[in-house]
């Protein structure tokens, strides 16, 4: 067991790291080290297979290399489809959810393009070397069908680059699927009739795709009859709370997400949203928090019931009463649930749940799940300590889910689990979102370090504890009472401590690990800047403490849920 623990610790340290430009880098973003190693392994394996035992003497030297590359390219087809299906075998066996495999799908496609270039390039060079290019193009239909397939493959790869995907995702998906059909047809025509068995590498992905679609359609039909009704509530910070009536889906994993579709706001659009609620909470209804950007989420915000607080029913009677009132509801469909592939956090001694902005949906679903199990289980769970950290731009954002946090806090306290809730009010974009929105502040923070991070407190709030001298802003600027360190704001979230500025991730995680009596777990959901910092900090601490390397320090598991 010790050897397994040490191997696990070493594997975690080598795979968790992530170095990526996080700000405004739509074009270039590096995945974590573990993913990079898999991609590199795939590429090296393919290159080795291409050049091993492939130096045919004589005039067929280039032809042989081109043919081998062609075979290897076709062999990538089943893997492409296996990595993209929402109900796929790789997810079933490895426990990795399909959205986490999508990066491997993109890189498999790029490796296929690389092999297609070798296939065409080597053969073309060989023909050109003997002056046979024109004759080959005139007499053989392979080049024509091959160029058609190559053009479609190139288009498929170019349009998967991040800026194109983000420009209009729905259009990207539709054209991607249509182009792939065209590519498959072109490849089938291109494959030589002297090697008909090569078509098996095309038949298999077609079958996998059809099976995946059939399963999705069957589940979609089963879970959406009758159709759900969605109630929308506008919250502070351009966030919409969506609550769906639900009778068909009885269970889902904490942290799972669904593809949400409300035809009134886009009949072709299906938006991923993490489920905030648990099967035991909110009368089994599905609750989501969606930040308004553009398109579907913006339309949700526009049509949401205006309310600064979550005036949503908590009981069935209230729910029925709302139906009779003029609370608008819309027909909604869901596809899923998917995701929730993280390990069981209840099996860890100390847990840190870190969230940035709407990432609270993921961490809060984990917290509520732990609270439900701790309060209902006769046997005490292994978890002893939980620290929930939430980074927001405005302290009023805590109203999004203050009831859920308070309820979970109480349940865990009653079950004997030590729980701390820390809210960090920060202007740091890397901890809340990706956009640059400088915030004017009337405080005396050192602006050369970037935007300051001060809690804006309503001066009329009698419950706020003053921990710093009031600061007078320069003339003409709006003045606010500034709390420089930590305070409690019972009117917002009684169980939480509010902090100004960004969290000291290393200090917080060090405290977690030092006080842990067993293995720890960290879950983070937020922008890339936040998640990459947490990744690198966990690795640094794991290495410094020599986890599972003889010092007695216990392991630390990390799960990162990224914004997509």
């Amino acid at each position: 067991m010790r050897a397994i623990a040490t191997a696990t610790a070493l594997a975690r340290e080598s795979t968790y790291l992530q170095y990526t430009p996080s700000r405004n880098s739509v074009w270039f973003r590096l995945p974590p080290m573990g993913t990079l190693m898999l991609i590199l392994l795939h590429f090296i394996f393919v290159v080795v297979l291409e050049f091993t035992n492939n130096s045919v003497p004589g005039a067929q030297f280039w032809q042989a290399r081109g043919v081998r590359a062609g075979w290897l390219a076709v062999a990538q087809m089943p893997l492409l489809i296996l990595l993209v299906g929402k109900n796929n075998l790789i997810s079933l066996f490895t426990g990795v959810s399909h959205e986490r495999l999508n990066v491997l799908h993109r890189w498999t496609a790029r490796i296929t393009l690389f092999l297609a270039i070798l296939h065409f390039g080597y053969q073309s060079y060989g023909w050109q070397h003997f002056g046979l290019m024109t004759m080959e193009f005139n007499l053989d239909e392979c080049p024509a069908t091959g160029i058609a397939a190559f053009a479609l493959l190139l288009w498929l790869n170019l349009t998967t680059l991040a800026p194109f995907r983000h420009w209009s995702y729905e259009f990207f998906v539709v054209q991607h699927i249509i182009t792939f059909f065209g590519f498959i047809i072109a490849v089938m025509y291109h494959l030589p009739e002297t090697a008909l068995w090569s078509r098996v590498y095309i038949y298999i992905p077609i079958a996998l795709y059809i099976i995946d679609r059939l399963v999705r359609t069957a589940l979609f039909t089963y879970f959406n009859i009758p159709a759900k009704r969605a109630t929308l509530t506008a919250l502070d910070g351009q966030v919409t709370r969506v609550r769906l009536t639900n009778k068909s889906i009885k269970s889902w994993q904490p942290g799972a997400y669904m593809m949400l579709s409300i035809p009134k706001f886009g009949w072709t659009q299906s938006h991923p949203a993490t489920i905030l609620s648990t099967p035991q909470s909110h009368n089994g209804d599905l609750v989501f928090l969606l930040k308004s950007h553009k398109g579907f989420t913006k339309r949700l915000m526009t049509h949401a019931n205006t309310s600064s607080t979550a005036l949503l029913p908590h009981t069935k009677q209230e729910s029925e009463a709302n139906q009779n009132n003029e609370v608008a509801s819309y027909r909604a469909f869901t596809n899923g649930p998917y995701g929730g592939s993280q390990l069981d956090f209840a099996a860890f001694d100390s847990i840190c749940l870190m969230a940035g902005s709407t990432g609270i949906t993921f961490t809060l679903s984990l917290l509520q799940n732990l609270a439900d199990r701790a309060s209902s289980s006769e046997k005490r769970l292994p978890v002893h300590r939980i620290h929930l950290i939430w980074c927001v731009k405005d302290s009023r954002w805590t109203k999004w889910c203050s009831d859920e946090i308070s309820a979970a806090h109480k349940k865990l306290r009653d079950a004997g689990v030590e729980i701390d809730v820390s809210i960090y009010v920060t202007c740091a974009d890397s901890f809340t979102n990706q956009t640059d929105e400088p915030k004017a502040c009337g405080c005396q923070c050192d602006k050369t370090l970037g935007p300051c991070c001060c809690v804006a407190v309503d001066e009329a709030d009698p419950d706020a504890e003053d921990l710093a001298e009031p600061v007078t802003a320069p003339q003409g600027e709006k003045t606010t009472r500034v709390i420089a360190t930590c305070t409690k704001l019972p009117s917002l979230l009684p169980c939480a401590k509010f902090h100004s500025g960004r969290p000291e991730v290393e200090t917080l995680l060090m405290d977690l690990l030092n006080s842990a009596g067993g293995e720890s777990a960290v879950a983070v959901c937020g922008p890339v800047g936040m998640t990459s910092m947490v990744r690198n900090t966990v690795v640094k601490l794991s290495d410094e403490r020599a986890i599972h390397k003889g010092t007695g320090a216990q392991g630390c598991y990390l799960h990162v849920e990224s914004f997509y």
């Binding site: 067929q60 893997l79 023909w127 004759m135 392979c142 030589p192």
Partner: protein, 138 residues
């Protein structure tokens, strides 16, 4: 077709280019054993040169397995080919495109790729099972 295959093997032993099974018409042509000079008479070279999409191949190839990749391939040489002669060019191109051996090797290495994929998925599956079982025991 068996006669064609046997004749091809005999020619390869004396260093002549291995003829494709797709060219039975060339057997009736004027060929001298041991003579590398190409003097094939092709009535219509253009209709002969669709080597990888010739319908004649469809019935021939279906039952073949991967044993042929162990045969030594005769090396194709451009020596003696008159590239100003279109007929000889076409024949040389046809030989270059001959994938009798190459397709079997390609198939083998495509299969090796999938062995690797299965190994990686298998290892990930084992690690997943061990990890979840360990947590379950707590």
């Amino acid at each position: 077709m068996l006669v064609v295959r046997e004749l091809s093997r005999a020619w390869s032993r004396v260093g002549v280019v291995v003829l494709s099974e797709r060219e039975p018409a060339f057997l009736a042509a004027n060929l001298n054993e041991g003579d590398n000079t190409r003097s094939r008479q092709v009535d219509d070279a253009e209709t002969m040169l669709f080597p990888r999409h010739d319908e004649m191949e469809m019935g021939m190839e279906m039952g073949m397995d991967g044993d042929m990749n162990h045969h030594h391939m005769g090396s194709l040489s451009a020596a003696g080919v008159d590239f100003s002669n279109r007929t000889q060019m076409a024949a040389f191109l046809d030989d270059m495109l001959n994938d009798d051996q190459l397709k079997h090797l390609g198939n083998d290495y495509a299969r090796y790729f999938w062995y690797g994929v299965v190994v990686v998925i298998g290892l990930a599956t084992i690690m997943n099972i061990i990890q979840r079982a360990t947590l379950k025991m707590r």
